[in-house]
């Protein structure tokens, strides 16, 4: 499998201060990579560099020519004040193909309908985005990412703030897209339990570095206890990994 994206000795940050240094990894075609780590560790920074919206302070990010990303931002980043229908939002994923000053045409509307069908919500096409539940909104944002026919689907915290059912459905949908369409997926999440059971490889962001490995190399008690500074246990239940953080030993809390 050829590498679609390659990071070589990359330092990333905002202003002059680096958030991450010496980042070296590749995303081969057909990969399902989860990027995990504590809050504020720089997970989103990595995908910004991958998408080209953040330039590296040092090193190089190389992408295959003609590579198209389908980006699914964090749900709360999408403003619900805008009076936009689901269809309007999905078609935005094709705006880079529509010439400046032109309106979307029948082909764009057809592609939007197909993308909504792929994520299972064609009936929401005319609904206002702000009236949707978190899970529905996330499906719409995935449809917008798919409508541009991407090579790589990049998701930033796709299940943040969702209940158990919506989380399972969204992650199942992403895995189906990977399995059935052969789509390369890069997913950022702080939820270890979710990532551990869906992805092929994990990139753990910790102390300004990215540590890459298989799920069992990263999701184990030794590594996670070190990263999170807490005793962490990893259990397996019916083929699923369950990560549990224990409260550190100390005086009993009165709260």
């Amino acid at each position: 499998m050829s590498d679609l994206v390659r990071f070589d000795g990359v330092s990333l940050g905002y202003g002059r201060s680096p958030v991450l240094t010496g980042v070296t990894f590749a995303v081969p075609e057909g990969d399902f990579l989860g990027v995990v780590g504590p809050n504020g560790s720089g997970k989103t920074t990595i995908i910004r560099a991958m998408l080209g919206t953040l330039l590296p302070l040092a090193g190089t990010v190389t992408k295959t020519a003609g590579l198209r990303f389908g980006y699914v931002p964090q749900r709360d980043q999408v403003d619900s004040l805008f009076p936009l229908s689901v269809n309007d939002v999905v078609i935005m994923g094709r705006y880079d193909r529509i010439p400046l000053g032109r309106r979307p045409g029948p082909d764009d509307r057809r592609a939007a309908r197909q993308a909504l069908e792929q994520v299972g919500v064609p009936h929401l096409a005319d609904r206002n985005l702000s009236r949707l539940s978190g899970g529905q909104k996330q499906r719409v944002l995935i449809a917008r990412a798919l409508v541009g026919d991407p090579n790589v689907l990049v998701l930033d915290e796709p299940t943040n703030g969702m209940d158990l059912v919506s989380t399972t459905q969204i992650l199942g949908l992403v895995r189906d897209l990977h399995d059935q369409r052969g789509l390369t997926v890069v997913m950022v999440s702080h939820a270890l339990n979710e990532v551990a059971n869906y992805v092929h490889r994990i990139g753990l962001v910790f102390e300004q570095k990215l540590r890459l490995g298989t799920v069992s190399e990263i999701i184990n008690e030794e590594v996670l206890s070190q990263v999170y500074g807490l005793p962490v246990e990893v259990h397996t239940f019916d083929g699923h990994r369950v990560v549990v953080a224990r409260r550190p030993a100390g005086p009993p809390s009165h709260v």
Binding site: F69, Q77, D79, L81, P83, L84
Partner: protein, 274 residues
């Protein structure tokens, strides 16, 4: 009454042009939560006018309309440029920067006018003199605001996308900073020209209240622009028509009407149960 209104018809045309122009741009201003950028740019524009008058009084600058509008344009576009590229954000919260600009520009405008040899009253900047609009100024407003509206009509898709989700727009190759800059510059141009006749309060009103009405009533972006324009036209016509027979200041009457229309829109939205 109709004869008196006919006498001031240029003022009505002027108010309508300014109202429609600001109503369209105001939709972005409200949606992007940059309402006070509009206020700060209007104050910068008034400071530019005051600077031109003060320099003119000292004999260092021309004193006719072209000089005041030129200075107002330079100062307002400077502000638009600053806000458009997110100036000062590294050191200061964006809203704080807007507040500082607003306060300093307002004070500077008043101080310069107080010391200007021509001694114009400073409240003209707050209330404007909408009734004093001439045919020439109406044509000038149309010549400036018309192309801005055409540009916004042509690029509505792009302006909406970069306003709604700039990060995704950037991943699709949109140069978001440049689009923001273009949006701010068009707002700056309209404000600089509108300020000459409408004053800070009326311009600020037209940038905010019609858009709020539009967004309360609309279920689509097209609807938001349509309702916003309609409410600006309604408030201008009714406010203007009432102000003359009732001997009320025209600008504040139009603003009161805009407020009333927004209140009705809020009630309609509430009764829809949304």
């Amino acid at each position: 009454m109709f004869e008196t209104i006919a006498l001031f018809r240029e003022a009505l045309y002027g108010a309508l042009i300014i109202g429609v122009g600001c109503a369209v741009l105001g939709v972005y201003v409200v949606l992007r939560r940059i309402v006070f950028v509009g206020a700060a740019l209007a104050q910068l524009s008034s400071a530019g006018i005051a600077l031109a008058i003060w320099l003119g009084g000292l004999g260092l600058f021309g004193t006719n309309h072209a000089y005041t509008i030129g200075m107002s344009l330079v100062v307002t576009l400077g502000g638009a440029l600053f806000f458009g590229v997110g100036g000062g954000r590294r050191f200061l919260h964006h809203e704080a920067g807007i507040g500082v600009t607003y306060a300093v520009a307002a004070a500077l405008g008043i101080l310069l006018i107080a010391k200007a040899a021509s001694g114009e009253a400073h409240d003209i900047f707050l209330q404007g003199n909408i009734l004093g609009i001439t045919r020439h100024e109406t044509i000038e407003l149309l010549a400036v605001i018309g192309p801005v509206l055409l540009l916004h009509f042509a690029l509505a898709k792009e302006f909406t996308f970069v306003s709604f989700d700039p990060e995704t727009a950037q991943t699709l190759g949109y140069r978001v900073t440049r689009w923001n800059l273009l949006l701010y510059l068009t707002i700056g141009v309209v404000i600089a020209f509108a300020m000459q006749s409408a004053g800070v309060l009326l311009v600020f009103n037209f940038l905010v209240l019609p858009a709020v009405t539009g967004l309360l009533l609309a279920r689509s972006m097209h609807g938001a622009f349509g309702y916003s324009i309609a409410s600006a036209v309604l408030a201008s016509v009714v406010g203007f028509s009432l102000s003359i027979p009732l001997d009320l200041p025209t600008g504040p009457t139009i603003i009161a009407m805009s407020g009333l229309v927004a209140l009705v829109a809020w009630w309609v939205r509430r009764t829809r149960g949304e």
